[in-house]
């Protein structure tokens, strides 16, 4: 961090348009860049290309889309900011980092949205399209001038750039090409390899004509040249070139690739944000491996369809987000009761109710664990990285079929839209599901022949001669006959519950990040992993005895958590869900509502686990965690 501060202090604040200065690239180890525009101006393409070029150079990259909530927000509106936030680093980047260091904005209004959201670092560099200053509409020109002056007064380093004018010099329709001009500028500022940038453009526009590619390359070069000639600062983020092939995808694409790899062949879904992009991609490619994406008439139907297909012998996945998950709850209970394997993916968003559809939150942990009426034990695991989104689906299918259980995979909007490289997976034959068993069933086989020790029973599938029976959501005995006998009811409840214990016995203890003991243990789950671990690294560099533990399995919990917690003076969770603020007057130990994981850990281990949470619709920043921990530890 200090390197960036130094870099900025070297660059003279006013010196954007000065004569060509001797531009020595200042070495920095990471930086957060934003490119924002109105929808349709291509800021997202610019940002994604920047990330891809840097990734090819071996840099760590973490890209997040900035998406307006509306499809066609009005032009030049505060709520209409569309673009990308790209964090570049020397090492592997595991999260979006802190506030933004440098912004390219196509108008001042979209910029204001980011300023008000507190996303920009104090004094950060803003490269602002200046064409609005001379706009014929006096409201626009004065709004521009006022905002500009305010930002300068607030200490931002605002550099006005004649993007459109410069673009017009080389192409006719400058509005559409500005994004590649911006990409060229960024390539200059971050000393990126222009050859790779040209290749990236060719790749991005591979479905378009050569003329389109050529004109975009011209714009790229124009942006590069302009920055070289007119900007007096330049950075370099050194990188060790990658040795292994890596794939660069967001969490939802990783999830969909996981479905492909898992051997599942049917995905039943209903459109819902932010899960849908996984199904979009899957719909495009699933048929290439013989799979089907079924868009059902509603969330309940999607779940019931998946249960039907699973029942027939082909473990199926249904992908949804919070409200859809709520709707599926009854059907999930049926799969639990009838012991039909099922994979449910919940890409969490802000709640309750419609909440914040495009925003990140970890608010569904308890509902996935305890949801559906009655005792409905199911497996819950949470992907903690983009890479994990891929592997979690494979793991989920395996567990679902081994234990005849519902497995819920939790991710969230921040993983869903974050793009980062991870090692290209090597195909493993064991990922693929075995063929549907159609062998005759030995005489005397009972459809729920629960093992007395583990609760597990061999499943009998339609088509197997001699195995005919009717599965039911009613309480049933080992023959799947409806039963109201109290002993039989408890026998079934016990068997379904024991399966979780049986799975738990196969789990490994989680690994502590940092030191094995100390003053504070932070426990997290899901998408916060990279952020928490980066915060722990920074705090340990300050000499603080802070470690972290990240849980992938939430139900059942892995072993040894209690032993690990005991080695620390204090334990707290950090989560992106609501918890009451203990400092509020009305809140005390009798009414304080803890965050989801804290509540679980307190209940299970009788340990005084504290929590700190933030639910601002955006991922928690590592700097914020450091601040909170410093305060707590004094």
């Amino acid at each position: 961090m200090s390197q960036i501060d130094t870099a900025q202090s070297i660059a003279p604040a006013e010196g954007a348009r000065g004569p060509r200065a001797a531009r020595t690239a200042v070495e920095i180890d990471q930086q957060v860049v934003e490119v924002i525009s109105d929808s349709g101006e291509g800021a997202q393409r610019c940002g994604q290309s920047l990330g891809a070029i840097a990734a090819r150079m071996g840099n760590g990259v973490w890209t997040v889309e900035i998406i307006p909530a509306e499809i066609r927000p009005p032009a030049r509106s505060v709520a209409g900011a569309s673009g990308n936030r790209i964090r570049l680093g020397s090492r592997r980047i595991t999260n979006g980092g802190d506030e933004t260091d440098l912004v390219v904005a196509f108008n001042e209004q979209v910029l204001l949205g980011r300023v008000r959201a507190g996303e920009l670092k104090k004094g950060c560099t803003i490269l602002l399209e200046d064409k609005w200053r001379d706009d014929t509409d006096p409201r626009i020109s004065s709004s521009y001038t006022e905002t500009h002056d305010e930002l300068v007064a607030a200490g931002y380093r605002v550099i006005e750039i004649p993007m459109e004018r410069e673009c017009k010099k080389v192409v006719q329709d400058a509005r559409r090409g500005k994004n590649m001009f911006a990409l060229g500028m960024l390539c200059s500022i971050y000393s990126l390899d222009m050859e790779l940038a040209r290749e990236q453009i060719a790749l991005t526009f591979r479905k378009k004509s050569q003329a389109v590619i050529d004109s975009n390359v011209i714009l790229l070069e124009a942006g590069y040249e302009w920055a070289e000639a007119n900007l007096d600062f330049k950075y370099r983020i050194p990188a060790a070139p990658a040795k292994e092939p890596q794939i660069v995808v967001n969490g939802n694409t990783a999830l969909a690739l996981g479905v492909l790899a898992s051997g599942m062949e049917i995905c039943a879904m209903y459109p819902i944000t932010p899960a849908t992009s996984a199904s979009h991609y899957l719909a495009d490619v699933f048929e290439k491996v013989g799979g089907v994406v079924h868009q059902a008439e509603d969330e309940i139907a999607a779940c019931a369809f998946a249960i039907g297909a699973s029942y027939a012998g082909k473990c199926t996945v249904t992908i949804t987000s919070g409200p859809g998950y709520s709707l599926k709850q009854e059907a999930i209970g049926l799969a639990v009761m009838a012991e039909i394997p099922l994979v449910v993916v919940n890409v969490q968003r802000g709640g309750p109710s419609t909440g914040q559809p495009t925003k990140a939150e970890q608010g569904d942990l308890l509902t996935t664990m305890f949801g559906s009426h009655g005792d409905a034990p199911k497996v819950v695991l949470a992907a903690s990285t983009v890479e994990d989104c891929f592997y979690s689906v494979i793991t989920a299918r395996k567990i679902a079929e081994t234990f005849n259980m519902v497995v819920v995979v939790l991710t969230d909007a921040s993983l869903a839209t974050a793009q980062t490289p991870f090692p290209r997976p090597r195909f493993n034959e064991a990922w693929v599901a075995p063929p549907v068993d159609q062998t005759p069933v030995p005489p005397g086989t009972r459809p729920y022949d629960w093992d007395p020790k583990t609760g597990l029973a061999r499943r009998v599938l339609p088509g197997q001669p001699g195995g005919m029976h009717t599965v039911t959501g009613l309480a049933h005995d080992r023959d799947s006959h409806v039963a109201y006998d109290p002993d039989i009811n408890e026998e079934g409840l016990r068997a379904r519950s024991l399966k979780l214990a049986a799975l738990q016995k196969t789990l490994k203890p989680p690994e502590v990040f940092g030191g094995d003991d100390g003053d504070l243990l932070i426990i997290g789950w899901g998408s916060t992993r990279g952020t928490i671990e980066e915060a722990v690294e920074r705090l340990r560099a300050e000499g603080r005895k802070v470690s972290s533990l990240h849980l992938r399995f939430l139900q059942p919990l892995p072993p040894a958590i209690n032993d690990i917690m005991r080695r620390f003076d204090k334990v707290m969770t950090i989560e992106t869900n609501w918890s009451d603020h203990p400092e509020e007057e009305i809140i005390d130990e009798h009414n304080r509502r803890y965050s989801a994981l804290a509540m679980l850990l307190r209940a299970r281990y009788l340990v005084d686990v504290d929590c700190w949470t933030q639910v601002r619709g955006a991922p928690i920043k590592p700097g914020k965690i450091c601040e909170v921990i410093r305060e707590r530890l004094g």
Binding site: I247, V289, G290, A302, G308, S310, Y311, L334, R424, M468
Partner: protein
């Protein structure tokens, strides 16, 4: 979709199945319940078609009629209220080698599961669907259903229902892709069987509304129709049902109706009295969703790997050589 392994297995021996091979648990329905008549017709169909019990699945929701699968000695799926159709669709999508039947009541299909009903018609997946329509919620003890006649006094409408009854046949015939619609009454078993058989033989979503009596909650509802054969109109056609001479003597109210005629089918469907019985509509040309979605590749491990690697290639950043 993959060819199921079972397709490839040789049938090592042929075995004739008798009625008892399809008879599961002893039905717990009330004496005189129309469900018994439907069960008898269906078990006879299975025997006559020699369906292999292990290749046959009955799917149901919740309600009196949804106990049906328990009384068959085939595979069965007794699920949750209103959701039998999507479960059946999932089964069909995964396994085209299975015969899929659905048993659903008027509450299950026309009320809580109405959305699925509408869409199931559109999907037109190959399955035979029995709407056991007794115009009342039986299992929960006499509440009005969407098909209850207007003014019916029930536990939730003690002073009579407020709305006109829903007509399941007109609803079904109003949906795009409808491919088979028939109506039967539980008190003419011969026609019930013929209609069930025609429905089974139609490839697509075969929907039969069966007007049935509930001896417990509405014991007298259909008495006027039982006493007066004129109040039942039999639909016959060379491409539809043929009516036996014995039956034709009793039921003289007849209409020659071509099941290809959708407009006339819709008119017939809206007729409540006399009750039309027979095949209202049949269109074998409507494609089945599971056929439209079928891929012609065998899902071998190699095939999956090739597809997956091609996708990885799209997103791979190769180290600079």
């Amino acid at each position: 979709m993959a060819t199921a392994a079972s397709h490839c297995l040789l049938r090592l021996y042929e075995e004739r199945h008798e009625l008892e091979d399809y008879q599961g648990g002893v039905p717990r329905w009330c004496t005189g319940c129309g469900d018994n008549a439907i069960l008898a017709a269906v078990q006879r169909l299975c025997r006559d078609e020699q369906l292999r019990p292990e290749k046959t699945v009955f799917v149901s929701g919740i309600g009196c009629s949804s106990r049906f699968p328990h009384y068959m000695k085939t595979y069965g799926f007794h699920g949750i209220h209103g959701r039998a159709l999507p479960v059946a669709q999932g089964i069909r999508m995964a396994r085209k080698d299975l015969h899929v039947f659905v048993n659903t009541g008027d509450g299950d299909c026309c009320s809580i599961g109405a959305a699925h009903w509408i869409h199931a018609i559109r999907y037109n997946m190959n399955m035979t669907v029995f709407l056991h329509d007794n115009q009342i919620y039986g299992l929960t003890k006499m509440q009005a259903s969407p098909t209850s006649p207007r003014g019916l006094r029930s536990n939730t409408t003690p002073r009579g229902t407020f709305l006109e009854a829903m007509q399941p046949l007109t609803v079904t015939l109003g949906v795009q892709n409808v491919s088979f619609v028939a109506q039967a009454v539980d008190w003419i078993p011969e026609l019930l069987y013929d209609i069930v058989s025609a429905a089974f033989r139609h490839r697509g979503f075969s929907f039969i509304r069966i007007v049935q009596r509930c001896p417990e909650w509405l014991p007298r509802l259909y008495e006027p129709w039982l006493h007066d054969p004129e109040r039942v109109r039999l639909l016959h056609h060379d491409d539809g049902l043929t009516i036996s001479p014995a039956l034709a003597k009793v039921y003289r109210n007849q209409e020659s109706h071509d099941p290809a005629n959708l407009d006339r089918a819709r008119e017939i469907a809206s007729c409540v009295d006399p009750i039309p019985v027979g095949i209202l509509y049949r269109n074998p040309e409507v494609p089945c969703y599971e056929d439209l979605r079928e891929t012609d590749h065998l899902r071998t491990t190699k095939f999956i790997q090739t597809g997956l690697e091609a996708e990885f290639d799209k997103f791979t950043v190769w180290p600079k050589s």
